[in-house]
């Protein structure tokens, strides 16, 4: 299979890190939890910024007593103790989240853990990545410097190019027909509202996992946060000039983690840009279907042996077993039923059942034990 060399390289790298830091603290074994850690950091730092942020554009550009989004960000950065640090943490935690999501995605792809019974995780992951990118972009509008203005205008002209619904989406985006204070309120609402929607997306992402790893161990958390502190200190962030609606900014500094779609827009017709984005998303979603392998043969319950003890359902890593009321002819109350599309044929339930009531087709218990033994000893 084409991912085999990539899988081998990933496993080699992981072994190398194991030699350095022991498997207990190998970040590769918490690859799904790393972005989640940065999500908590983003929520917390965002809450602190929200306490001071004022979502208006107040266009009286020359006023001395101007209070708007840009001045509030400036106040946070230059007048509140540690404000620059909190702002930096929020910004770089976003970047780090994208990096760790990409690592997570590559890892599950390279190790072939994204298909078949894991399809819900993959598809919800693609949607979550798109959401994270969009939320990050809305963060750039909120600063309300000349880059924010340019990005807002680029978004509007790109939306204009979408037939039928483009105008409607643009009106929703601007919260009107032009940039006003309501626009900033909308940007803030989208930024915060969608951030909490991520939690719902994560629930779908985890719903088929019995024991998802949600938090890395403290040692890894320290390192993740420490790296953030160092980057914040060594690469301080600065806002550009305050946005002036009468000005025509033409260039902007690209944050490659979030703003690459705008970079694409600079040399693509909007219609081609949307097609390219849609095609990229569809290819990502269909990736699991490009590989043909033989279908999983799910575990089977032998009804006459099942006592309804539920041990298999509790142990199944993929939530593939449900307990249903047993038929009236049974002397037990419950019966285990396997949902075949969720089953990975991992054999955990066979090990869990003390009554020989669940089996993998074409595989004897003794075969499974032999396989486990050889894996554990090899």
């Amino acid at each position: 299979m084409y991912t085999k060399p990539l899988n081998e390289a990933t496993l080699k790298l992981e072994q190398g890190i194991n030699a350095l830091v022991s498997s207990k603290y190998n970040p590769f074994y918490y690859h799904g939890a790393l972005p989640q850690f940065y999500l908590w950091v983003l929520y917390l730092s965002g809450l602190l910024l929200f306490a001071y942020y004022i979502p208006t554009i107040d266009n009286a550009y020359d006023s001395d007593k101007l209070i708007n989004a840009w001045t509030s960000v400036d106040y946070i950065t230059n007048h509140i103790p540690f404000g620059a640090i909190i702002r930096g943490i929020h910004r770089y935690a976003g970047d780090a989240m994208v990096v760790t999501i990409l690592l997570h995605m590559l890892r599950v792809w390279f190790t072939d853990r994204y298909r078949q019974y894991r399809i819900v995780e993959w598809l919800s992951g693609v949607v979550l990545l798109a959401l994270v990118l969009f939320i990050g972009q809305t963060g750039y509008y909120l600063v309300w410097d000349d880059r924010s203005l340019l990005l807002t205008r680029m978004t509007c002209s790109a939306l204009d190019a979408i037939p039928l619904v483009g105008q409607g989406i643009k009106t929703w985006f601007l919260n009107g027909t032009e940039v006003t204070n309501y626009t900033m309120a909308n940007f803030l609402f989208i930024h915060i509202g969608l951030s909490f929607t991520l939690l719902f997306g994560l629930w779908i992402h985890y719903v088929r996992m019995t024991r998802p790893v949600l938090t890395p161990p403290p040692v890894i958390n320290y390192i993740l946060f420490a790296l953030l502190l160092l980057v914040v200190a060594w690469f301080p962030i600065e806002s550009g000039k305050m946005a002036d609606l009468n000005a025509q900014p033409t260039s902007f500094e690209v944050d490659w983690f979030f703003l690459w779609p705008y970079w694409l827009l600079t040399f693509m017709q909007p219609a081609i840009y949307w097609l390219a984005l849609a095609a990229g998303t569809v290819v990502l979603c269909l990736l699991p279907y490009f590989v043909r392998t033989k279908p999983v043969e799910p575990a089977e319950v032998l009804e006459k042996n099942c006592t309804g003890c539920s041990l298999c359902a509790r142990d199944c890593p993929y939530q593939a077993i449900v307990m249903v009321p047993a038929p009236v002819t049974s002397r037990f109350k419950l019966l285990a039923v396997v949902k075949p599309y969720r089953c990975s044929a991992c054999g955990v339930c066979v090990g869990a059942c003390a009554f020989d009531a669940i089996d993998l087709p074409n595989m004897l218990d003794s075969d499974i034990t032999a396989q486990i033994k050889s894996l554990a000893q090899g």
Binding site: S22, P218, A226, L229, A233
Partner: protein
């Protein structure tokens, strides 16, 4: 890294803890200075202040940087706390690593 806690690992662990403590101390001296507290701290801290006073050149460079960017002290705290956390994590990696993991296969039925 060795699996057992041999002498090299112990020395490395000790150095890491000392480094982490140094970073924390450095980070704590900054608010001390910023709050305008006495340049010579009282009692037993004087010895430490003497050590700290050894790096006059470094301090002057920091003061100059602080004059040009008023967020500079915050970036210094941030750096030292970051370094301390990394050192702490390295120390924990030594202290907290498990003994050799064993896979026990239960005999079934």
């Amino acid at each position: 890294m060795p699996d057992d806690k041999g002498p090299v690992a112990k020395i490395f662990c000790l150095l890491t803890v000392v480094f982490a403590a140094g970073c924390l101390l450095m980070a704590l001296f900054m608010p001390w200075a910023e709050l305008g507290l006495p340049a010579t701290p009282p009692g037993p801290l004087q010895a430490l202040a003497g050590l700290y006073g050894g790096g006059q050149g470094l301090i002057q460079a920091m003061v100059r940087a602080a004059q040009t960017d008023k967020n500079f002290p915050f970036y210094v705290y941030s750096s030292f706390l970051g370094l301390a956390m990394i050192a702490g994590a390295i120390a924990l990696n030594f202290v907290g690593r498990e003994e050799t993991e064993k896979t026990v296969l239960p005999t079934k039925k």
